[in-house]
Amino acid sequence: MVKITVNGQPMEVPEGTNVLDAALSNRVHLEHFCYHRYLPVAGNCRTCMVEIETPRGRQLTIGCNTHVTEGMVIHTDSPKAKDAQKSALEMLLLDHPLDCPVCDKAGECKLQDQYMQDGRYEFRRSVPRYFKGGKAEDIGKHVMLDQERCVLCSRCIRFLDEIPKTSELGILHRGHEATLDIFPGKRLDNPYSGNVTDVCPVGALTLKEFRFKQRVWFLKKTESVCPGCARGCSITVEQNKGKVYRFMPRENPEINKTWICDEGRFSFDHYQQNRLEAIRLGHQEHSLKDGLKQLAQILSGMNKDEVGAIASPYASLEDNFILKKFFEKRFDPKNLAAPDWTLKGEADQILKLADKSPNQAGLRLLGITTQADNLFARMEKGELKAVLVMQQDPFGREEAKAKKIFAKVKVLVVLSVHKTATVEQGAMAFPVRPFTEKSGTFVNGTSRLQRFRQAIEPTNQDILPASLWISRLAQEMKLEGFPFEDTSSIFNAMTKEVDALKGLTFNSIPCMGKVLSLSTAATEPFQGLNAQPNILGAKP
């Protein structure tokens, strides 16, 4: 640690920290545009100007490219420093179109926020505005470019150079005519293109999927985890009035820094489309109470080894835990398995992993086997009369095989978020909530336990999280130890039974997640992202 003084306040920061980060992490406001913690320093916006005391007197310099040294005395609010900051802001705003009312960045725009806080306000341009570049150019599958809003901080260029290494964008021309543009003949179509809109401090780069959809100040943000693959990137789910408008990466230096892939980013609509809404028994719609009652009656009349269940890596740790607990209580646990019906994708060197399910390691943590051959054999022989399929789609993935193994199963109970092929086959189908509508935990491919919180309420209160649905069913069947009130109490119950979770509570899981000591968990070294190591926990 290094002792420094910022504006007369003594502080301690880790060695190698730059002055800007040191100030921000100690809640000292300092303007900045071009600096991004996970990108190389460019030092071109000249807004993070500070005065540093040296033997030759106070020196004005930029904070982002100056590393702290022992005893350094820094002034971020001296008249000279403040003047330099204000002047840079004034110049950035000089020919800005000021189209905030129609700009999607308004509300989270660094130029807007910082100018409001530290601007000069007085309008001094005194010459006609210079029109710089075009408006709303379509430069890629997801991204639109508004050149006239650009402050030329080069964050997007550095992102494309460093992370996907595709370098589609560049600053063309020089001096006052410098404009951000896409290189001729190129399209911004790499699988991480959406991140350029996050790093853009202004509204120059915006997402087609978000343009004109919602003002950001109406959005409520909820801490969550992307369930798109076993990486489990930290995200925030942003919603207004029960509709999710976007997934945004949430800073997590251990997993995804501040990036997510486009596949994950644009999956937000997937959880709002093609949803299973009604509880169906046969071809009739029923209420939840009715459905559970009927199902409880059927299951109560069955023998211990006549019922099977299929757990899921798409379901949360709580869902799988309750399913297992329920099964152990009433039925034969050897008839519980989580066959691998997950989607397989391509891994890249950045974030994406081949396993497209979020909780494969969670199944291993709970000791739920993925070996389902014995279960399938018993189903084929007709030994199992009822099978409960939780958040899996056997008919959608392997239709022929599913037809064969489910042929003699009389009662197929399906818990599903979407209207899947299996739902169509099931005798009973119950809708359950996706991860955006419930709280819970996933264990990612590097055995990191992560928590997600409920972002929105379901349209129908009869739609429960799978775990609470099973808990209600167990209650109907008059099993001891049920029901549970909510998913966090399920997690807290789980910590008493699962060794690796000992000592944790749902609310004490760190927001960056916690690595569990799992001997059997899939552990894969984290690669890619050759950006600067994280230094401090402040928001970049």
Binding site: C45, R46, T47, M49, S126, R174, G175, A178
Partner: protein, 423 residues
Amino acid sequence: MEPQLTKRFGLRDSHTLKVSLQTGGYASLKNLFGMKPEQVIEEVKTSGLKGRGGAGFSAGMKWSFVPKNTGKPVYLAVNADEGEPGTFTDRYVLTYDPHLLLEGIICASYAIGCHTAYIYVRGEFLDQIKILERAIEEAEKAKYLGKNIQGSGYDLQVHVHRGAGAYICGEETGLLESLEGKPGKPRIKPPFPAVSGLFGCPTIINNVKTLASVPWIIQNGGKAYAAIGTKDSTGTSVFSLSGHVNQPGYWEMPFGLPMLEFIETYGKGVKGGKLKAVIPGGSSTPVLTPKECETLTLCYESMQSHGTFLGTGGAIILNDQTDMAKILKSMTAFYSEESCGQCTPCREGTAWENRLMKKILDGEATSKELDLMLTIADNMEGHTICAHAAACAMPVRSFIKKFPADFEKYLVKNTTAVPAQIH
């Protein structure tokens, strides 16, 4: 005084190796290879040789910053991107005595342990590039360049790189970026080029005249060089006069000549009127009034005490018929055009100054705009990666402050007559 940089100027075929050798060319190499590299650096430090490119930093000191034993190659980049308005002396060294520059390059490269040197030549210097390339070819044939120079066991390759016509590529890190094939945008410091320069390797960047001064030092010793000129400005340099003088041109002389004497004796007096202003070392240096010039001498320390810089030593003389506002307009246009566009204060500031100057000349401005120009200049200088913003701010500030009448005559007196501002 015996000329050091211009001694072959005027000789027939002075650019050839033959003439060079006949007149003592490459004679310093014998001394050079008898010395250790550290001794060479010491000798240059003793000489007090300062960079002739404008910043005036001690050359020997610069060379000593190269870290030892990094395992990386060391490069020498020769800055022949002479583009400062009012400056035209490097081109004559390249034209008339390329072998003197090559000799200097060998001395400097040997001192810093460099085996590959690049000469970055301004794109417009087509003839000079041809001359340089021919000189390198000749020198290689005669074993003055290439492997095992003159049997010393020391190798040196020299390459010529032609610039593409950007003023900012004369800034040392902008030059390196350009040399690497990228847009010439000056780099953020630290790291300094001596530690991480061309291709991430230790690199020394020196001006043509700086390097051309080195052979004399090696041959005659640093002490002898330090005896020439003034205490802080040792040796000789090539000074030039342009603008309103009867005889524009360039002359080699020791530092310390009074400015007015320079104009009178060498420039044969001011043409077309009385002296109004002197821009002492290229357009970026603050302008001086005739009164200030009375005590001014051509050396680093005198320039500094007068609040200006020696710069490149290319003085522009202006007579009393000159409209300083018009001169400043063309200067701001130049700096706005040549800004690389990286840093906000420079990109926006230079163009803003230029737009305000246009407004002033169009007779639409009030004293508010003039004050604004000064404020912008204050907010540009020292706020950017390189000195380009300062190079624009310094003339703006000095022109407006020292010649207010030239600007005020364009101002609208009655403020109500000003057209409405366009938002």
